[in-house]
Symmetry: C2
Subunit: 220 residues, 2 copies
């Protein structure tokens, strides 16, 4: 159940900024780490510092979802974790289909972090005939691109992951969206065109490098 | 040269939020795409919409660096691109050292996007004796972990990239920081501990998936 203290129905929900949702996901992971380290209470200053986000921003992000923390004391780590879990984390598994089983694709399907977070690769597709039929990870066999539509339907794929070379990414995105997939995580280094109804997130590691380089440059 | 209209020296620089720097890097990539598509002028509303960020946020982000755009007209794409380039992009190459040449590591060193953005992998390290000496990409031979310190010095590695299993990430981060590397991009799914002087960015794709899943859940 999603908890919206500011909202009393489906029609008039507060629009929560994309960046807030991303940060909430980050807070969740950091709270898990803190709990694993035995931290029970953390001041809002210290929590913000661990997250590398300014305290006002942390408070603002959390305020979209309700009142958290106790003034002068801080956050109860377990309580805040549970609250964020209600907001963010699904109590069910999400089914992923991945297209492009090169090094990046293989790295992703073999990364246990996805499964741990509730994301399961149920189908893998590649255009290379030599790869089709290969078992890329236990019980996950590579399928041809021609199977995208049928497999999406049969396996109820909800999120598509694109790990093809940039040149093929748009065509693959079109195939996924034609098959009825509404959300795509795109690792190819191009922005794909999409209708407004679909969600596409582009992952570009060089954005993170630009941030590091910016700070290194400022220091030197 | 970094352009800081609000600042007149090294001592008293405005603290620019991390998220702003990440978004500026995103704006840069989107402006490049727009220019490649032949777009010369774009309204601030339209630009914000392409970026999937609210217009007030875009204006606020850009305001840290100066006055951009013309009221009622919008941004000149080429001019804004050039201004951001001055702020963000270095006129030199950054040297990367990567540790862990599994699928993820190989995918990164073979990804031409890094080189295109001014990031070059000058050294690759792995703990597997069977991999040492392998040429993972032209002229990049895998070295043993014992060489991290010397290679960092000789090759002037500036940014470390960790693509090891989570279990080894902390030890690897310590080795990199001991060798004098001040900035790390960490792809292992754990937060690494670090002294305040070092910068570590953690990349976790499941944060992007949480965002997509959050929106899919809200719709259903």
């Amino acid at each position: 159940m999603t908890h919206f203290p500011h909202s009393n129905g489906m029609e008039k929900q507060i629009k929560i900024p994309e960046a807030t949702i991303d940060r909430i996901a980050l807070y969740y992971r950091i709270l898990e780490d803190l709990l694993a380290q035995g931290v029970q209470v953390i001041s809002s200053q210290k929590f913000a510092s661990v997250c590398r986000i300014n305290p006002a921003q942390v408070r603002k992000d959390l305020s979209f979802f309700g009142e958290f923390g106790v003034r002068g004391v801080g956050y109860n780590v377990r309580d805040l974790l549970m609250e964020i879990k209600k907001i963010l984390v699904s109590d069910r598994e999400w089914k992923l289909g991945i297209v492009g089983l090169g090094n990046m694709g293989k790295a992703l399907v073999r990364d246990e972090n996805f499964f741990r977070r509730g994301y399961r690769f149920v189908a893998a597709f590649d255009s290379d005939p030599a790869k089709i039929g290969q078992e890329v990870v236990k019980d996950l066999f590579i399928r041809s691109m021609a199977e995208i539509s049928l497999a999406t339907d049969q396996l109820r794929i909800e999120i598509g992951v694109i790990t093809t070379p940039p040149l093929h990414a748009q065509r693959v995105a079109d195939l996924l969206m034609d098959a009825g997939i509404m959300a795509i995580l795109n690792f190819s280094a191009i922005q794909v065109r999409k209708p407004d109804c679909c969600l596409v997130h582009n992952v570009d590691f060089t954005v993170n490098l630009d941030n590091l380089a910016y700070h290194l440059k400022k220091r030197s």
